[in-house]
């Protein structure tokens, strides 16, 4: 029999406040953290908004050398990993380091640093050739995103399997799913897993401008991320990181540790259709959901909350609404569905793990976070999207889904321990 995998630690770096408590407070309040971009002059861009994190790395325990060496995505990963490790109560001098692994998701890795370094090396693009006299010794860490897993592994001296999962915007779910599979099969007992992305840099903003995927509602940034609302017009780019401590359930029980929930099912599929397009019928996402529920041995009717991908593009909202109906049947109309991207934006690969953190905290507190900015429902999206107000509800089984460029569709089921 496969081993069960518990969540025993949570760490979050999300827009609107540092740490998992500030994150949860934001979600429950229905406030939003989207604003006009402050990291660079956004004037030339079509979409000039983002959900940014205000933090000082030195105040969050990073050494001067870490501040110099670590790309912003790595900084978020390290800070959120530390929070999750403290939350887990694990004492690593009593744990076999060979049985501790790391799996970090990231869609775009060290993009921010790469672009900054490129601008210097090329003198703002003047030449196709670049001048190595301006080479930063830390450029390689941004060049090769597996450095993210190394930085987290070094925090605790992890010597088990370590890897980065990079499946675009499903990286957050897929990194947790991969880590969960490694524990379930016996390759590790503890995994530090989650995802980080810091794409608020000119090239990332420009590439989503080019395909009009991001919202141009620049005069109203606080209300620009409007999943499932008739007036929505794209997502709002964001940065963030969530790291979870995953632990073989009996290992957690043996040390009497609090368990947020069990990752009981995980499925991933590809649509094999288009690198950015989605077929309106949602069949591959539905298949991922069906597989995840099957693995969790839970019927569709058991799902008490669906954390939607809910990016706020028309294409996505209709695609996943169709997927929920296909996978959950009549129950799709009865279960609360919400998108926290309405509040913390879309941090590409990171958001999937941030959303699983939200799901675990939702089970913990018995509260369904709302979809902010939902005032005029799209008639084609006719489910219960929990508009604007959080809702109290005991949750025993929670479903979270993700959808991303490349055609990736992933679904994860969390269940309360013992259910």
């Amino acid at each position: 029999m496969e081993r069960s995998v518990a969540i025993t630690g949570i760490g979050v770096m999300a827009p609107g406040g540092v740490g998992k408590k500030a994150f949860w407070d934001l979600l429950v309040s229905g406030r939003t953290a989207t604003r006009t971009i402050s990291f660079f002059d956004p004037a030339p861009f079509r979409s000039r908004m983002a959900a940014e994190i205000d933090f000082n790395p030195e105040l969050h325990g990073l050494t001067a050398r870490q501040c110099r060496r670590l790309d912003r995505a790595a900084q978020l990963a390290v800070i959120s990993a530390r929070e999750s490790l403290a939350d887990s109560g694990l004492e690593f001098d009593t744990v076999d380091p060979h049985r501790v692994g790391v799996c970090i998701g990231s869609a775009v890795g060290g993009t921010t640093t790469l672009e900054q370094e490129y601008v210097v090396l090329s003198d703002s693009g003047k030449e196709w050739d670049v001048d190595p006299a301006y080479l930063s010794p830390h450029l390689f860490d941004a060049f090769v995103p597996s450095s993210l897993a190394a930085e987290v592994a070094w925090l605790v001296g992890a010597q088990g399997p370590a890897t980065v999962v990079s499946t675009g915007c499903t990286s957050g779910l897929d990194s947790l799913g991969h880590a969960r599979d490694l524990i379930a099969e016996g390759s590790a007992d503890i995994m530090i897993a989650g995802a980080t992305d810091t794409p608020i840099s000119p090239i990332a903003v420009a590439c989503f401008d080019a395909i009009k995927a991001t919202s141009p509602r620049n005069d109203d940034p606080e209300h620009a991320s409007r999943p499932f609302d008739r007036t929505r017009n794209g997502f709002v780019i964001a940065e963030g990181s969530a790291m979870l401590v995953l632990e073989e359930l009996e290992h957690a029980r043996a040390r009497g540790q609090h368990v947020y929930g069990v990752i009981s099912g995980y499925g991933s599929r590809c649509n094999a259709y288009h690198m950015t397009g989605l077929r309106p019928d949602g069949r591959e996402m539905a298949e991922a959901i069906r597989y995840a529920l099957d693995e969790a041995k839970r019927p569709p009717e058991s799902v008490g909350y669906v954390n939607a991908h809910g990016s706020g593009t028309k294409q996505n909202d209709r695609h996943e609404t169709a997927a929920f109906k296909r996978a959950l049947g009549e129950h799709a109309y009865n279960v609360p569905v919400s998108s926290i991207k309405s509040m913390v934006g879309h941090s590409l690969g990171a958001i999937g793990s941030i959303e699983i953190a939200a799901c675990a905290l939702a089970m913990e507190h018995g509260v369904v976070p709302p979809t902010a900015n939902l005032h005029e429902p799209d008639p084609e999206c006719d489910l219960d999207y929990v508009p604007n107000e959080a809702r109290e509800r005991r949750l025993d089984t929670v479903l979270s889904v993700g959808s991303g460029f490349g055609g990736f569709q992933s679904a994860m089921v969390l269940t309360r321990e013992g259910i």
Partner: protein
């Protein structure tokens, strides 16, 4: 063969033996599997100066580059504007691997086919062009394809679309080691119910910015002499030459391969393990030897069974010493032939271990060990049997492939010859077909 390793999957998995039935190679010393393999056996290197590249002080003048690759000869025109060179290479390698296997994706269940690749450097040249446009002309000039031509998932996504593969897919990165992680994960996908996975790794990031980014890692040789630049285990070891390319393999369950009467079974992916090194400053030993032992135990083989080791071959004195020590510790002095055909291609990041695995499977097929070239002065006192200069005839039934990724990643993979496959279901005369 009953050793149980920690990490061995449930017994039921044994009925889902992962076999390699197709190989597609894009390498600096050969485009196409047989072209590359014959060049490798002839000792022909693909390490050459970067064309049209400035040779400012400090820039690597040598790269393992694939000459004469015209994507338009192999791929539909509509794919060209939306893909970087790395994705074009990966698509072509996938096409060739599928053709070699004879598998018809249209005849297989769509959710039973997956794509698992490693790619540590993304679509770099493409994004270089687009970032330059952004900074010199403005955001409205950035390509509509930039959002997905750069990211690390481009290869898996495009391969999946091209062949209608809708099953569990992934992209794993651990610098060099990620190439083996992809193959190990492909086996996991089959064990969980998949039937066929296109898997491996391909890299290419050698526009001027990419070249400099490789150099930034601090491990690239400064030598300007193609036959002296990359010398693993040699007294002249002074870093590696980075290169482009890699391999994509078709991996299927033995049952699926038998049911569709596959033309050949190259061998089984029988063992895999991954670890991470102790943190810098730790007195604990590096993880390579432990990784190799875990992979062998997972495959149910002992060191005495292993016929050849494909070395990671970092070509830095300390890393070479650690690898030689790990090999000697496991196999004894001169206990097993060790080779590094990557001396003819350079290190291909995620593509390298996939190419080494292809080499191991062809070593099985042809009973020959590919050589390590240019190593003329092995470091005295390192008691490893390096296959130097010329290929060596040898029957190969069990091969171990080692890979280390920058920052401390270790992975190891064991492949078995068809006649050694532990769990070949009745009615699969793979070995018979293999030798005809």
């Amino acid at each position: 063969m009953t050793i149980t390793a920690p990490g061995t999957a449930p017994a039921a998995a044994a009925t889902r033996t992962a076999v390699v039935t197709g190989i597609g190679v894009v390498a600096p010393n050969g485009l196409g599997t047989e072209e590359w393999w014959s060049a490798t056996l002839r000792g022909e290197s693909g390490i050459r100066p970067v064309p049209d590249h400035s040779t400012r002080p400090g820039q690597a003048p040598l790269i393992g580059l694939i000459p004469g690759f015209e994507a338009a000869d192999h791929l539909p025109g509509r794919l060209l504007p939306q893909t970087d060179r790395v994705t074009r290479l990966a698509l072509v390698a996938s096409d060739w691997a599928l053709a070699d296997s004879g598998a018809d994706p249209a005849a297989l269940p769509e959710y039973g086919m997956g794509v698992v690749t490693s790619n540590a450097t993304g679509g770099f040249e493409f994004t270089h062009r687009e970032i330059r446009k952004l900074w010199t002309q403005g955001p409205q000039h950035v390509s509509v394809y930039e959002s997905f031509a750069w990211f690390y998932a481009a290869n898996t996504g495009q391969i999946s679309i091209r062949h209608g593969m809708r099953g569990p897919s992934n992209v794993l990165i651990a610098e060099q080691a990620g190439g083996l992680d992809a193959l190990g994960h492909a086996r996991r996908v089959l064990r969980k119910g998949g039937e066929l996975v296109l898997t491996g790794g391909v890299e290419s990031a050698f526009d001027p910015w990419g070249v400099v980014s490789h150099i930034a890692g601090g491990r690239v040789s400064r030598s300007g002499h193609p036959d002296r630049a990359y010398l693993p285990f040699d007294t002249g070891a002074s870093g590696h030459v980075p290169g482009e390319g890699g391999a994509i393999l078709v991996v299927e369950t033995a049952t699926a391969a038998a049911e569709r009467d596959a033309g050949q079974v190259y061998g089984e992916i029988a063992g895999y393990a991954a670890t991470f090194d102790p943190p810098p400053g730790s007195s604990a030993p590096p993880g390579l030897a432990r990784t190799a032992r875990l992979a062998m135990a997972d495959a149910g083989v002992t060191p005495e069974d292993v016929d050849v080791v494909f070395a990671d071959a970092a070509a830095l004195p300390a890393l070479d010493a650690a690898e030689a020590a790990a090999i000697e510790e496991i196999f004894g002095p001169y206990g097993v032939p060790v080779t590094a055909p990557k001396t003819m291609t350079g290190r291909l990041a995620g593509g390298g271990p996939a190419l080494d695995t292809a080499a191991a499977l062809l070593a099985v097929r042809d009973s020959v060990l590919p050589p390590t070239v240019n190593v003329e002065r092995p470091v005295p006192g390192r008691r490893i049997d390096l296959v130097r200069g010329e290929p060596r005839e040898a029957r190969v039934e069990v091969a171990l492939i080692l890979a280390r990724g920058h920052h401390g990643f270790n992975s190891a993979l064991v492949v078995l010859a068809p006649n050694r496959m532990a769990a070949a279901p009745a009615g699969v005369p793979a070995a018979v077909r293999h030798h005809t």
